[in-house]
Amino acid sequence: MSKQIDIKDLNIYYGDFQAVEGVEMQIKPRSVTAFIGPSGCGKSTVLRTLNRMHEVIPGASVRGEVLMDGSDIYGAGVDPVNVRREVGMVFQRANPFPTMSIKENVLAGVRLNNKRLSKAEADDLTERALRGANLWNEVKDRLNLPGSGLSGGQQQRLCIARAIAVEPEVLLMDEPCSALDPISTLAIEDLINDLKDKYTVVIVTHNMQQAARVSDKTAFFNIAGTGKPGKLIEFNDTSVIFSNPEKEETENYISGRFG
């Protein structure tokens, strides 16, 4: 239950402005891939093209191919809704649905996709997803309370539970720990390690230690200057990127000699 992603000559535009240029990448199933790079270099944009979420922004468009196990998610007749059912996403800011309880939040994806669940199935899925997100023990006694009453780190794990409850093939995470304290961050990093047994995980992070800790492969993006498109500079095993990168630009960035 996880897929390989092949990105071929991906160019991303916002209106006339080209945000990202010529990305080539192969993301293996059951691995964690980290995207690092300075702000505005297009790493979140690339991440959002992997489940066609960038289309939510008016005027955004894409040229190139993103193949999931060989089929192009930008091919003719592809419904973005179906793509997003295969590729889940966790956002920078935890965003549980405010009108729903913890349990309803976990089940939201399944219920809103027209699947009828018996009570036993719903209970079972809730427990599985919350255990999968390492949150079960903390919330099992208050499943019917609003999700917005949890702490920031718990809310983020609730969002992860919500994303894995629909059983996607791929899980995208856009700076999932940037608003969290070190302990919650640790909980989520542990979780990412567990998740890669089942899912293909792609994570955007500003924290290079985090990239080094959790990922198998790392992609470094950079931007030549304001108004220029972002580019993929180097994509390699995480150990190589952080010890012996091929490009000087990467070396400068990870060692803090940037700019």
Partner: protein, 379 residues
């Protein structure tokens, strides 16, 4: 090197300063009112509320400044005067509201009874009012028909304008983006907000007259129905509903929509299941504001539904009265001329009280609903 006390013993800045006791502003305010009342009494020879209020306001500001400046210093004195001015303005703003409510309750409450609420103007004659004024009988007549008319016409207006308004707002926020249709709708809604209500009434009447002419020629006046009035009110209501709903929908964070899309939920379902439930309390308060705005309309009802004297439950045929047109009619065309016209006036005040109560109940209801449906953030 910066060291503490031993090198800078001379700089002993105090953190405490002189402060007037907490009750001082109140004492000054009461004293100002008493002094102002005294001056008014001595100067005019009688007690005048207006003169007292103006004098008391001025005296209070001067006294607060003088006392505070002498004791606490200039900065605090200015602060206290600013506080005084702001609070007085608030009191001033409340005066019309409270006096209006007081007048309605005292005048309307005196006349209001169950008879008025349960009777219509059926069989009303001037002689009955003359008997009432002469003290020979109770107040005759009533406005049950006007209450029914108000409720029916307002309900019909809601049935038309809430779906149209809310759906138009959803289109504007969720679908239109910056396209031309969206801009055109926004512009038209802005224009509609400014339409005088009588024009909306004339429009609805003209529209239904034209239709009536086509369906059954020479049937003049058949277009004057409660439903025509409801359409006229909808013209006034829709822009308010669109505006309020639009603002509320824009407050729903984009995060929530994205979270839903990322779960593979289609757009329409995201709107129905995520966006609307999150904003429903705000939408309902907006709708209530719109209802409160149109329930008191007089002019568009007069030209569309006429003035009914009797009960009419049928929105689609015959004249209807609402509370505002009943009040207008009673004041302008009393049942009995001369001294006995006061009876009509009393009925009008009672109707006004009922109308104000209806609006207030609506507002309270909206608050309760908003509170019940609002997203909970409890721990």
């Amino acid at each position: 090197m910066l060291t503490t006390s031993d090198t800078t013993p001379s700089r002993s800045r105090s953190l405490t300063s002189k402060q007037l006791p907490k009750a001082t502003p109140w004492v000054i305010a009461v004293a100002s009112i008493i002094v102002a009342a005294g001056i008014s009494f001595l100067g005019l020879g009688r007690f005048s509320i207006t003169v007292t209020a103006v004098l008391a306001g001025a005296l209070n500001a001067i006294a607060v400044f003088a006392i505070s400046a002498a004791y606490e210093g200039r900065r605090k004195a200015v602060d206290r005067v600013a506080t005084t001015v702001v609070s007085s303005t608030f009191v001033l703003a409340c005066v019309p509201l409270i006096s209006l409510l007081w007048l309605t309750v005292s005048k309307g409450g005196a006349a209001l009874d169950l008879n008025l609420l349960s009777r219509t103007m059926l069989g009303m004659k001037g002689i009955l009012d003359q008997q009432y004024v002469a003290g020979e009988a109770g107040l005759a007549g009533g406005f049950y028909h006007a209450i029914v008319g108000t409720v029916l016409i307002t309900l019909a207006a809601c049935v038309i304008s809430i779906p149209v308004g809310v759906l138009a707002a959803i289109y504007l926020v969720e679908y239109a983006g910056k396209n031309k249709l969206g801009k055109a709708i926004t512009f038209l809604v802005d224009v509609m907000t400014g339409i005088p209500s009588i024009v909306a009434g004339l429009f609805a009447f003209a529209l239904f007259s034209t239709i009536a002419e086509l369906v059954m020629p020479a049937a003049a006046g058949v277009a004057k129905t409660g439903f025509t009035a409801a359409v006229a009110l909808s013209v006034l209501m829709i822009p308010i509903v669109v505006r309020n709903t639009e603002e509320i929908l824009r407050l729903v964070p984009m995060d929530l929509r994205e979270a839903s899309y990322a779960l593979g939920v289609p757009k329409w379902k995201t709107i129905v299941k995520i966006v609307l439930p999150t904003s429903v309390s705000g939408i309902l308060s907006g709708v209530t504001i719109a209802i409160a705005r149109v329930i008191g309309e007089t002019a568009p009802i007069m030209v569309t539904a006429g003035f009914a004297k009797t009960l009419n439950w049928n929105l689609f045929s015959g004249w209807m009265s609402t509370l505002p047109t009943y009040i207008y009619d009673s004041q302008l065309r009393p049942v009995s001329p001369g001294d006995a016209a006061i009876a009509s006036s009393e009925r009008a005040w009672a109707a006004a009280l009922v109308l104000v109560a209806l609006v207030m109940i609506l507002n309270l209801l909206a608050r309760v609903i908003a509170k019940v449906l609002a997203p909970k953030a409890g721990r």
